[in-house]
């Protein structure tokens, strides 16, 4: 039954990182997360909606986020996700990794 801890995509645009970042601002339910990412990226980033739920499960399994049942702004029962302390640490790690990577890419692209 053993399966290794869920691996994160280390590519830029990693969905996990985006979710964690979103949740570090405020607690949200699934659909809210998708909308937030879309809006804050000026509709540049379109989250493949179906893939969101496996990702949420993965993050929850790793103990980075926590889901509880609550109410949405328009009074619907929904599972609201919160970021945990471990999640914040992970976000820091991912952010560092990400900025290193984008920096490296920018250097390559700028080295003419």
């Amino acid at each position: 039954m053993g399966r290794k801890a869920q691996k994160n995509d280390s590519l830029p645009g990693s969905l996990d990182m985006l979710i964690l970042r979103t949740l570090s601002r405020r607690d949200l339910h699934g659909y809210g997360i998708v909308q937030f990412i879309q809006q804050s990226s000026d509709n540049e980033l379109l989250v493949e909606e179906g893939s969101l739920y496996p990702a949420l499960q993965r993050l929850e399994l790793n103990g980075w986020i926590d889901g509880v049942w609550g109410m949405t702004s328009n009074n619907r029962r929904a599972r609201i996700y919160k970021i945990t302390t471990a999640g914040r640490k992970q976000l820091a790690v991912e952010t560092r990794k990400y900025s290193k990577l984008t920096l490296a890419i920018a250097r390559v692209m700028g080295a003419e």
Binding site: M1, E49, Y53, R76
Partner: protein, 909 residues
């Protein structure tokens, strides 16, 4: 660890969690739809668009679940549940498949368990691998003038590989020579089978299997006593105090427990011995075919057998003692053989006196001794191989049939698979589900197979022992074997499940969705499987035919004497101390007392029963002289008064042996017709003389009997001489009582009379003549019964396969048949169209199988009696039975085809 706990918690609440997930996704879709609607879409469009953007909801749900629990297990659970549902939906199919597999697995496991216990099981002693059995082989003495260094023997020979004789008996001086300073054996020990002795314990007599063993025997086998001590070198010399070791079972039966037996006096053939020890419970000596009750030091046969035995110890040409050695650590069997063979050769050369003897000296060979002596192996291994082969064929048919059923079912479910594929199921997922179903069938079959195996082992023990009381071969269910067979069934399920599964999930789902009736490739696969089943069934049918015919031939052998209403039993007064004149009188008095039992119309006695005379040996072995002619190999039987009348053997001339023949009167003989014809032609032999050369005895021929099967049923010789028991005085006699009604009703009276005459004499081998005769052909009976059973089973399986295939084909061709009938085809023509294919399949199967049967049947040649392996009758019968069964199996679907309503069929199309 916390990770594991989280997973576990999830697993427990999995049903609720997946419900929650569904709700979450549902909410997502609703909100999305609401947003799209707000942008101006209609409600319906918005909903569809939301779904489209989301992707495959089911798949995403599965992926999400997979994050928590390995998907494998959750899907397995689903598959198993689904499998159970399909199995209950197709009860007939599932029951059939499971039953077939169980039968195949059970039969194979039972037979193989037997083989293992006979062929491979080691002796229950320490380090059995280092034991070797000493044998020798030699050219048979009949060649090159009949001179042989073996002048006398007491023991067994068996044929070796290259026409040589092989044996395990040696002269005692050979044992002494090999025992001296042996560099390859840590111990060399000898033994010989003393057969049945009269063992009297506290005045109660019983028959005990006896093994004479040298002083090194127990040390060499590394056995420790259950009580007391075992025989050692001090006990095994002429003049030592007579001591005995008894088996654990005997100590329990006779003394209550082993410790009570130590120091107790016992009588062995009326000679006093003292029990010094009890063998451990699991120990049965060195021959798995025997389980001695009594172990005596070798040299005590001087006491028990008297002067006869004394000569054995110094005679270098009398072969009687068997040997086993324990290799020193690090010495291989080959090294030991290289060391000992020249030594034995050197010794045996000194015992040869003529050139004729020197050209065929026995040569020593060492055989592995871990499994003990090979008598059982020689007797049963070949029959068991044949049975295993048949059971293996049954398993093959079973697998083919299940494959066929799975193929047919896969075809029937093609539509279902196509629907599932087009709804987005992964191809692997569908294949896996089909595999799970076949594996479930296989495991169910395997479980039931365990039951069949347990019954099978019991049934085989019963069949092989065939009523013998002291059958020592007790096979237990071998779990390793069962494991292998069960694994085989699982692999079979996997393999045969895989092919149709992959086929039915082929890339192009559209044709399947459109009409759901199968395609061409699968039909060919099915046909191959049906042909294979028919071919294999034919093989088994032929085997059954041959064995049944053999049994039939054996049953129709004219015995020449009666088999009904005769009770046989054996009494040995010699072992209880009776001797000479007194013994003869004792036997005669006993005979008269049996005559007084109400319902007994005649009593006679003889050296042995007629059928077992070949094994027991006659009253005289050796050349007989009639006039100037010397004859070998005539059966001589010591018979009491009115033997011929009691056995209903016609008297052709003169008289039979009767009360006139007393020890002091003229020795007389009654010869068989064949003997009389051969040596006296048309002259009357009555009053003429015959001579027993070795005994230097002249006998007067008193009468001529009709011919009879003397000795075994198969090789019985019609050359027979009856002599008077009163004049030849056998040590033990077999009484024959001619009774009214069931002979076994008189057993109690017989026991009472013998007990009254001498309580130290047990009555043994109590059996009816009919049972005694049947016992000698028990193997043939077993083979005929089992192979008939197998043949019926094979035929049944093959017919089911054929029926299934034909039905499937008919169902597939409904449209075609409908058109034909609409165009005016007669019902008969339709039936013929279907049956033609059945016959074609059967014909192809036969064409493959006949040559195979012809070559394979040679393997069973040695089990046949007056039946040729290529017996045309058996082949023809098997062919006819098979074809009729095939037609029968094909007729039902053919009839169904002819009843098709063209209109309905065409509308369906």
């Amino acid at each position: 660890m916390t990770d594991m706990l989280r997973r576990l918690r999830y697993w427990i609440k999995s049903a609720r969690r997946s419900e929650e997930l569904r709700e979450e996704m549902e909410l997502h879709l609703t909100e999305k739809a609401a947003e799209l609607q707000a942008d101006g879409m209609t409600a319906e469009c918005a909903r569809a668009e939301a779904r489209r953007r989301f992707g495959n909801v089911g798949l995403k749900q599965e992926e999400s679940r997979e994050i928590w629990i390995t998907r494998f297990w959750s899907e397995l659970g689903q598959d198993v549940r689904y499998g159970c549902r399909t199995m209950t939906a197709n009860k007939a199919f599932s029951a059939l498949a499971v039953l077939l597999l169980a039968l195949g697995i059970g039969a194979n496991t039972a037979i193989y368990s037997f083989m293992e216990s006979i062929l491979l099981r080691s002796l229950p002693v320490a380090d059995p691998e280092s034991l070797v059995v000493l044998n020798w082989h030699s050219r048979p003495p009949q060649k090159d003038g009949g001179q042989w260094v073996v002048h006398g023997l007491q023991g067994l020979f068996w044929p070796g590989d290259t026409g040589n004789l092989v044996s395990g008996i040696f002269p005692y001086p050979a044992f002494e020579t090999l025992r001296e300073e042996n560099p390859v054996f840590s111990t060399l020990f000898g033994y010989f089978n003393g057969h049945n002795c009269n063992l009297a314990i506290r005045g109660q007599a019983m028959i005990a299997g006896t093994e004479y063993v040298t002083g090194e025997y127990f040390r060499g086998l590394a056995v420790s006593p259950a009580a007391g001590r075992l025989i050692d070198s001090e006990d095994d010399r002429a003049g030592a105090a007579p001591v005995a070791v008894i088996s654990f079972a005997t100590s329990q039966n006779r003394f209550g427990e082993p410790a009570n037996a130590i120091g107790q006096p016992i009588l062995v053939d009326n000679i006093p011995f003292t029990v010094i020890g009890v063998a451990p419970p699991e120990f049965f000596g060195v021959d798995p075919a025997e389980a001695p009750d009594l172990y005596l030091p070798l040299h005590t046969n001087l006491l028990v057998d008297g002067a006869r035995a004394a000569r054995l110890y110094s005679d270098g040409n009398f072969y009687w003692i068997e040997m086993m050695g324990r290799l020193r650590p690090g010495v291989s069997t080959a090294q030991a053989q290289a060391e000992l063979a020249p030594r034995f050769h050197q010794w045996v050369a000194t015992t040869a006196t003529t050139d004729g003897e020197r050209v065929k000296l026995p040569a020593l060979i060492l055989n592995p001794g871990a499994a003990g002596l090979g008598s059982l192996r020689r007797k049963y291994s070949k029959p068991l191989y044949v049975l295993l082969m048949m059971a293996g064929l049954i398993l093959a048919i079973t697998c083919a049939n299940i494959a066929n059923l799975l193929l047919a079912r896969a075809a029937a479910r093609r539509r279902e698979m196509a629907v599932r594929l087009s709804l987005g199921a992964g191809r692997f997922r569908v294949v896996r589900q089909l595999l799970t179903e076949s594996l479930m069938l296989a495991s169910l079959g395997g479980t039931l197979g365990v039951l069949f195996a347990i019954w099978g082992v019991r049934a085989l023990t019963f069949l092989l022992s065939n009523g013998r009381e002291n059958f020592t071969l007790h096979a237990e269910l071998n779990w390793n074997v069962l494991g292998v067979t069960a694994a085989l069934s699982v692999v079979c399920g996997l393999f045969f499940g895989l092919a149709p599964a992959i086929q039915s999930t082929g890339s192009d789902v559209m044709p399947a969705l459109k009409n759901g009736r199968g395609g061409g490739r699968r039909r060919r696969g099915q046909h191959v499987l049906v042909v294979a089943q028919i071919a294999i069934s034919f093989l088994i049918l032929v085997a059954a035919g041959l064995f049944v015919r053999t049994l039939d031939k054996l049953h129709s052998i004219p015995l020449g004497y009666t088999r009904e209403h005769i009770l046989l039993f054996t009494v040995n007064a010699h072992q209880a101390g009776h001797r000479d004149r007194e013994m003869a009188t004792f036997y005669e008095n006993l005979r008269k007392r049996f005559e007084s039992i109400p319902g007994v119309s005649g009593v006679t006695l003889s050296g042995s029963s007629i059928i077992s005379a070949g094994m027991a040996g006659g009253a005289y072995r050796g050349p007989i002289k009639i006039g100037a002619v010397t004859i070998q190999g005539v059966g001589v039987m010591a018979a009491g008064p009115r033997f011929l009348t009691t056995m209903q053997i016609p008297i052709l001339a003169g008289r039979e042996i009767d009360d006139r023949d007393q020890p002091d009167s003229t020795p007389v003989a009654v010869i068989s017709e064949q003997l009389a014809r051969t040596y006296f032609g048309n002259e009357n032999p009555v009053g003429r003389r015959i001579t027993f050369v070795d005994d230097k005895r002249d006998l007067e021929i008193a009468g001529v009997s009709a011919n009879l099967r003397y000795g075994s049923l198969k090789e019985g010789s019609p050359m027979t001489v009856f002599v008077a028991a009163s004049q030849f005085s056998p040590d033990r006699v077999t009484y024959a009582l001619r009774t009214a009604g069931d002979p076994l009703r008189y057993v109690k009276s017989v026991h009472e009379i013998v007990q009254e005459a001498d309580p130290h004499i047990p009555v043994t081998n109590v059996v009816t003549q009919a049972a005694e005769i049947d016992r000698t052909i028990s193997q043939e009976v077993t083979f005929a019964k089992l192979s008939t059973g197998f043949a019926v089973l094979a035929l049944l399986i093959a017919c089911v396969g054929l029926y299934g295939t034909v039905s499937y084909n008919v169902a597939r061709q409904v449209g075609e048949i409908g058109i034909r009938m609409a165009l005016g085809a007669q019902r008969g023509a339709v039936v013929w169209m279907v049956l033609r294919r059945v016959l074609l399949l059967a014909g192809v199967g036969l064409a493959i199988s006949v040559p195979a049967a012809l070559s394979a049947s040679r393997l069973v040649k040695s089990f046949l009696f007056e039946t040729q392996p290529n017996d045309p009758g058996s082949l023809a019968l098997a062919g006819v039975v098979l074809l009729s069964a095939a037609i029968l199996a094909g007729y039902a679907p053919a009839r169904r085809a002819s009843r098709i309503d063209p209109l309905a069929a065409l509308r369906h199309e």
